[in-house]
C-alpha cells in the first residue's frame, strides 16, 4: 500500500516538474533555431530536427530582430532596486508604528490603516494609469526613471507594510521596552534593536518587492517610451508576427534569468526555517 503511495507521490512530483519546465525548454530550444526549424511545424531536438544557430542570441546585442538587452537590463535594475529600498524603509517604519502603537483619528484605527495599505493592491492598474500619466507629465517626469520609481513605490509600499507588520508582531514587545529603559528613544530602539533582528522579514519583503517590481509591465508600458526602457516592455514589444521566434525566445530567457537567483535565496531561507517565521 505504501509502495503505491510513494510511487504516486513521485509521479505527481515528476508530472508537475515537467509542466514547470516545459516553457523554458521550449524557449531554449527555439532560441537556437532559424526559419526552417519553425515554419514547418514544431521541432525539438537540435541537429536531429533542425540546424542550431546563434543568430537569436546574437541579435540581443546588435539588433537585427531582437532587442538591445543592455539598456533595459540596467534601467530595470535601477528602477526596481531603488523603489524596493525606499518601500522597505518607509514600509518598515510604518509597519513598526502599526505594530507597537494604537492610532486613532476619528473612527479610523490601526486595523483600518492596515486595510488601507493593503487595499491599494486592489486598484487595477487602469485606474491609476492615466492619472499617473498626467501627473508625471505635469512634473515633467514622463519617460524617466525617477517618475517610474515614484509610481513603483506606491505599488510596493503596501507589500512591505503587509509583510513587516506581521513580522514585527512576532517580536516580543518587552525587547523594545527594555531598550527604552536602557536609554533608547523609541526611534533608537527601532534602529538599534528591532531592525538588526528583523533581517529575515526585510529579506522576504525585499524579495517580494523585487519580484513585483521587476515584473511589472503595465505601468512601464504606459509611462515610458524611449529614454527609459524596462525589460518586460522591451520583450513584449517583440510580440508581433514580424519578430522571429528565436530572437523572441532568447530575449525572453535572458530577461527572466536574474530572478532565478531570487528563487535560490528564497528556497534556502525556506528550508532553513527562517522564512517560515517571517511569512505567515
Amino acid at each position: 500500500m505504501s509502495k503505491l503511495y510513494t510511487f504516486l507521490k513521485y509521479l505527481a512530483i515528476t508530472l508537475w516538474s515537467i509542466f514547470v519546465v516545459t516553457p523554458f525548454l521550449w524557449a531554449l530550444t527555439t532560441s537556437f533555431k532559424t526559419a526552417n526549424g519553425v515554419t514547418g511545424g514544431p521541432t525539438y531536438l537540435p541537429w536531429l530536427q533542425y540546424e542550431p544557430s546563434l543568430s537569436g542570441w546574437k541579435s540581443l546585442f546588435s539588433g537585427g530582430g531582437g532587442i538591445d538587452i543592455v539598456k533595459p537590463y540596467l534601467d530595470s535594475l535601477i528602477v526596481t532596486a531603488s523603489a524596493s529600498v525606499i518601500s522597505i524603509v518607509l514600509g518598515s517604519l510604518a509597519a513598526y508604528g502599526l505594530s507597537r502603537f494604537s492610532y486613532r483619528a476619528g473612527f479610523v484605527k490601526n486595523a483600518d490603516l492596515i486595510f488601507f495599505f493593503i487595499s491599494q493592491r486592489i486598484m487595477p492598474p487602469i485606474v491609476l494609469a492615466i492619472p499617473f500619466f498626467l501627473m508625471l507629465k505635469w512634473l515633467d517626469l514622463l519617460d524617466s526613471k525617477i517618475g517610474l520609481i515614484l509610481v513603483y513605490v506606491a505599488l510596493l509600499l503596501p507589500i512591505a507594510v503587509w509583510i513587516m507588520v506581521d513580522f514585527f508582531n512576532n517580536i516580543p514587545r518587552q525587547i523594545d521596552e527594555m531598550a527604552m529603559l536602557d536609554g533608547c528613544t523609541p526611534l533608537q530602539a527601532f534602529l538599534r534593536v528591532i531592525l538588526p533582528n528583523s533581517l529575515p522579514g526585510m529579506i522576504v519583503a525585499g524579495m517580494f518587492c523585487l519580484i513585483f517590481g521587476w515584473n511589472d509591465f503595465f505601468f512601464a508600458f504606459t509611462l515610458t517610451f524611449t529614454d527609459t526602457q524596462l525589460l518586460p516592455v522591451a520583450v513584449v514589444a517583440l510580440n508581433s508576427s514580424v519578430t522571429p521566434w528565436w530572437s523572441l525566445s532568447a530575449s525572453a530567457l535572458i530577461s527572466v534569468a536574474p530572478l532565478l537567483l531570487v528563487a535560490f535565496v528564497v528556497e534556502r531561507y525556506l528550508s532553513h526555517g527562517t522564512l517560515a517565521g517571517a511569512i505567515r
Partner: protein, 360 residues
Amino acid sequence: MSLQINDLTLAVDGVTHLDGISANFERGKLTTVIGRTLAGKTTLMRAITGLQHLDRGALQLDTQNFSALPAWRRDIAMVYQQFINYPHLNVFENVAFPLRRKKLDEAVIERRVRGVLDKVGLKGFEARRPSQLSGGQQQRVALARSLAREAGILLLDEPLVNLDYKLREQMRSEFRSLLAEQTQTIVIYNTTEPVEAMLLGDTVVVMHEGRILQVGTPAEVFDRPASMQVASVVNDPPMNFIQGHKGESTLELAGGVCLSLPWHLRGLTIGEYWFGVRANELRVGQTSVTGQVTFSEVSGSETFLYVDSPLGPLTLQVQGVHIHALASNLEIGIPAERLFAFESAAQRRLVAAPATGAQL
C-alpha cells in the same frame, strides 16, 4: 531617596487593573510585592517605568516629578519573567548596552561588565549569544545588565517563575545576596510565592485586584495578616478558613465542633467569625474532628493531605512521609491557640491573632 506613587488608577474594558494605589519605596530597601496572578503587580511596575497608560496618578522621585519624564530618561532597570535579552548581541554587549547608551568610557564599561558577569557566575561567557544559553543563564545575563547600570530603581517582575524548581531555589539565595548589596538602589520584586516574599523582602506589599491590602515587614504580614484575603495570599499551602461562633465562653465551629476558648479570643465580642488555621498547624491523631481523606500528596519530606470534614474541606501539611488511603478516616486536631479570627463583614479584617514565634 524614595519613590512615591500616588493614586495610580487604570481600568480597561470595565476591568480594574489598578485602583487608586499609593505607596512609598525607600532607597536601599528591597520591597517585595506579592499577589496572585492578575493582582496588578506587573501593571504597577509598568506604570513606574512610564510605558503603561494610566487613567490617573502621579509619580515622584524625591522632589522630582517623575511622571513628566519619558521612559528613556528615567533611571530604571527592569528584569522580566520571560528571559528578555537582546538576541543579536553577545553576552558582553548585552550587559554593556545601557552603559554605551550613557556614553561611558570604554575602560569603565569593560571593568563594570566583567565585574558584574563574574558576580552572577557567568565569567567566560562573554562571547556567547543568548540563544546559546540555558534559561537560568539567560536570566543571569538580564540581571547582570540591570546591575551593571547601577540604576536608581531596579524592578524585577517574577524573574524566577519560568525556571524549574531546583534552579529557582538556588537562584533565590543568589539573588538575595546580590540584591542585598544594592544599598543605593530602590529595589522592587514581584512574586506570587510567599517564600520569596518573606525571604527577600525588607518590606512586603500585598496586592489583590488592583489594590494594596497591606504593607509591612515579612513578620508583620505573616503573623498579623490584615484580612482573610491577605492571609490566603501569604500562606502556601493556603490557610484553612472555618466559620464559627464565639459565645460567652465557648467556641463553636461549623459542623458542631466545639473547642475550648483560647485566651487570645476571649476579648472578642460574641458573634459569628471566620477562623483561620495554617495547614502545618493542624495535628494528626488528636480528635477535634474526624474527616475523610480525599487526596494525599507526598512532596519531598512532607505530606499534604486534603480532607473532607464537617468543617468543610481542610488542607494539612505534615512532616514526614505518611500514607493514608483514600476515603479513610483521619482524626484531626485543631489547636485553638493557633487560630486567627476574622470578622464576618465583607472586608474580613483581622480581629485577633495567635502569639507570634514558632513557625515561619
